[in-house]
């Protein structure tokens, strides 16, 4: 269709050009004829030509709209008219007979060969009839030949028609040759493209990673390099042979290879692409697994089968391995699950046991707390007990003043003093009363000091004078130090007031001072030194026996004691430690066996300030 269209366009083009060109030359001829009429007179022929020229002009004007055949026939008609009019006037001398030559060349390109031949015969016939007419004298010769060939018009006419004819031939020839050359180029390019494609496909075929085999009529027809490698053979081994030659007798599913192959090929040929696994044998007899896609292809009107093969032996091996692994894993998971379940059961059991144990522990802890409280209480009682004797003495002594004073007063009133002057008795009475007052004062003092120890509840905080507390403790311990131990007090120049629990602070210093006193077997010195440098520091230093190096790290442990049984349960320093911690302070101990001991209690003033602010 396309070729026909192109040809049509070419023809149309030629015809249109011919019309335009013919009209120009026709007009020249017509003008020459018109001028010639002034010499030879206007006649019928000129009338015909004029009509033809008008028609010609119209056709040229409408040339794009008119059909090709119509235009061709019109050109033929025009040429015929021109020729006939010329022949009628000039006979043999007519120039337009050259058109007869134009006809076959021109028309044969445009019209069919046979029609062109018919037209040529027709033209020849017309020319022959006129010739016969002139020769036989039927048509009178009105033109003097000698005169005509010497006229410029005749030459111009001839020239225009010859040129027109020649140009027409040249143009048509040129048009066709150019078209041909162009077409040839296209054909060559197309041929080249085709070759390239073939090469490309061939490369693809040869270099495919998959083995490709072409079968024709169920026999091997073509195979790429890969396929040959796969089968371990050359082309001749395969060519023209059936797949039976590259297969074992039976496939893994038990089917006979030959039967199954025929069946698969049949299905593929029927247009149903086949994808399957196949066991093949190499030329050396080795068996391998392949996955094959089999598809029918049509080439050059012949039916082929294309088989694409992949060696899946390795893959199959891996699959088998994977399956083995999976099974193994499943077994493992199963086993672990069972183990976990068992463990879980055990855990649940242990958990129950643990809860039970925890409850028991909680109970024990509760009991322990109670026991601890009792112990702390008993330690307090012990320390108080230790002191009681001394305190009793400290009270009994001044009480003795009062008792003795009373006896004294009674004696003064009795006969005992008959020998004494009244004035002397008055003096004695005064002395007795003073002594009794002294007794009362001393008792009050000691009772006050004692009261400090349990004055406050445990969480009660108030301003406490460190010096006051130490003095109270020393007072209670006076009987222990009296005549035996020198107590040196080196107090800071100002009163040291801290926020604290008064009872606990008393307990703290009483414990430390008591220890210091107890550490001195006979005579010695206890030095109490207070300083203040952001923190209140109380140093209690004794000249006693000191503490063994191997126990110094344990002295703050509860129930640790070096004293004889009955002197307390060993909570004294543990209580000291807790009281100091409660007051955000610290306690340092420095001692060596035989060199006395120094306890330093540090209570931060910042803590004190914070509490005062509150």
């Amino acid at each position: 269709m396309k070729q026909r269209d192109e040809l049509q366009v070419l023809r149309d083009n030629i015809v249109n050009k011919a019309l335009s060109l013919g009209f120009i030359f026709g007009m020249i001829s017509y003008i020459v004829t018109f001028i010639r009429c002034f010499t030879y007179g206007f006649d019928v022929a000129f009338g015909i030509i004029t009509t033809v020229m008008v028609l010609f002009a119209m056709v040229v004007w409408r040339r794009k709209k008119l059909s090709l055949n119509l235009k061709v026939y019109f050109i033929m008609l025009f040429v015929l008219m021109a020729m006939v009019s010329g022949l009628m006037r000039f006979g043999y001398l007519v120039s337009s007979k050259a058109y007869i030559i134009l006809i076959p060349i021109f028309v044969s390109f445009i019209l069919e060969y046979r029609r062109a031949l018919l037209l040529l015969i027709f033209y020849g016939g017309v020319y022959g009839i006129f010739g016969y007419g002139y020769v036989s004298g039927i048509i009178p010769s009105t033109v003097d030949a000698n005169e005509y060939v010497l006229s410029a018009n005749a030459w111009l006419m001839d020239l225009s028609i010859i040129l027109l004819t020649a140009l027409a031939i040249l143009f048509v020839g040129n048009q066709f040759s150019q078209t041909l050359i162009e077409k040839l180029k296209i054909i060559r390019q197309k041929n080249k493209d085709l070759n390239d494609r073939e090469k490309r496909f061939s490369v693809l075929f040869e270099h495919s990673l998959d083995a490709i085999i072409i079968l024709k009529d169920g026999l091997y027809y073509e195979a790429n390099q890969r396929a040959l490698e796969m089968f371990g053979c050359d082309m001749d081994y395969l060519l023209g042979r059936s797949p039976k030659v590259t297969s074992p007798q039976y496939q893994p599913d038990g089917a006979i290879s030959e039967v199954k192959a025929r069946e698969l090929i049949g299905k593929a040929m029927a247009g149903e692409p086949q994808l399957f696994e196949w066991q093949h044998t190499r030329a050396d007899g080795q068996v391998f697994d392949a996955s094959i896609s089999l598809v029918a292809i049509k080439y050059d009107n012949k039916d082929f089968l294309q088989a694409v093969l992949q060696n899946i032996t390795e893959k199959k091996k891996q699959q088998a391995e994977l399956k083995r692994y999976r099974l193994h894993l499943e077994n493992l998971v199963q086993q672990r699950t069972e183990e976990l379940e068992a463990a879980n059961e055990e855990l649940t059991q242990s958990n129950t046991d643990l809860i039970h144990q925890r409850n028991e522990l909680e109970n024990t802890l509760l009991k322990l707390h109670k026991t601890q409280k009792k112990l702390i209480e008993s330690e307090k009682m012990a320390s108080v007990g230790v002191l009681t004797a001394g305190v009793a003495h400290e009270i009994n002594n001044p009480l003795n003043f009062i008792q003795s004073g009373l006896y004294g007063l009674q004696s003064l009133n009795s006969d005992q003093y008959n020998d004494i002057e009244e004035s002397e008795q008055v003096e004695l009475r005064g002395e007795i009363i003073e002594s009794m007052e002294e007794g009362v004062r001393r008792i009050s003092d000691i009772v006050y000091s004692l009261n400090q120890f349990n004055r406050k509840s445990e969480d009660d905080y108030s301003s406490c004078s460190i010096h006051g507390i130490i003095d109270n403790c020393l007072k209670i311990l006076a009987h222990k130090t009296k005549n035996r131990i020198t107590v040196q007090k080196i107090y800071f120049k100002e009163a040291l007031i801290v926020q604290g629990n008064e009872g606990e602070l008393h307990q703290l210093f009483l414990n430390l001072l008591h220890n210091a006193i107890q550490a001195i077997p006979n005579e010695g010195t206890v030095q109490v030194k207070t300083t203040c440098n952001n923190k209140v520091e109380v140093e209690i230093m004794d000249s006693g026996e000191g503490i063994d190096n191997d126990v110094i790290g344990r002295i703050f442990e509860p129930f640790f004691t070096t004293k004889e049984a009955g002197s307390g349960v060993g909570l004294g320093l543990s209580i000291v430690y807790n009281i100091i911690k409660k007051h955000k302070g610290e306690v340092l101990v420095d001692s060596a066996k035989g060199n006395g001991a120094k306890f330093t209690v540090i209570i931060p003033i910042n803590y004190v300030v914070e509490n005062e602010k509150q």
Binding site: A389, A392, N397, N400, Q410, I432, N483
Partner: protein, 121 residues
Amino acid sequence: MKSNDTIIYVDDEAINLKLFSIMFHGIYEVLTFESPQMALEELKVCPEVKAVITDMKMPVMNGLQFVELAREINNTIPYFLLSGYGLTREINEALKNESLNGYFQKPFRKELIILELSKYI
């Protein structure tokens, strides 16, 4: 018991000594000493002392130590302890082995002393 017997009272507390003297004025001739040493000296030079009463807690030596030393000087008279302390193990022992003839607890009763002393004087 009209004739006033001489007794010695040792106590480091002066008030005790003074009041003791006052209450027994006209009953005993009381020699009081603040220190045991001085009392020992007196014992050496004054054989007419009929009894010795001493405090327990004193500087240099306690009452029992004093009695021990005093017995070396004069072992024929009775020795009594007048103490603010309760009975201790060592006092009990002294009472048992009769190095001590009696024990009075402060505050003491006047009649009890007269009664006890009367056993020996």
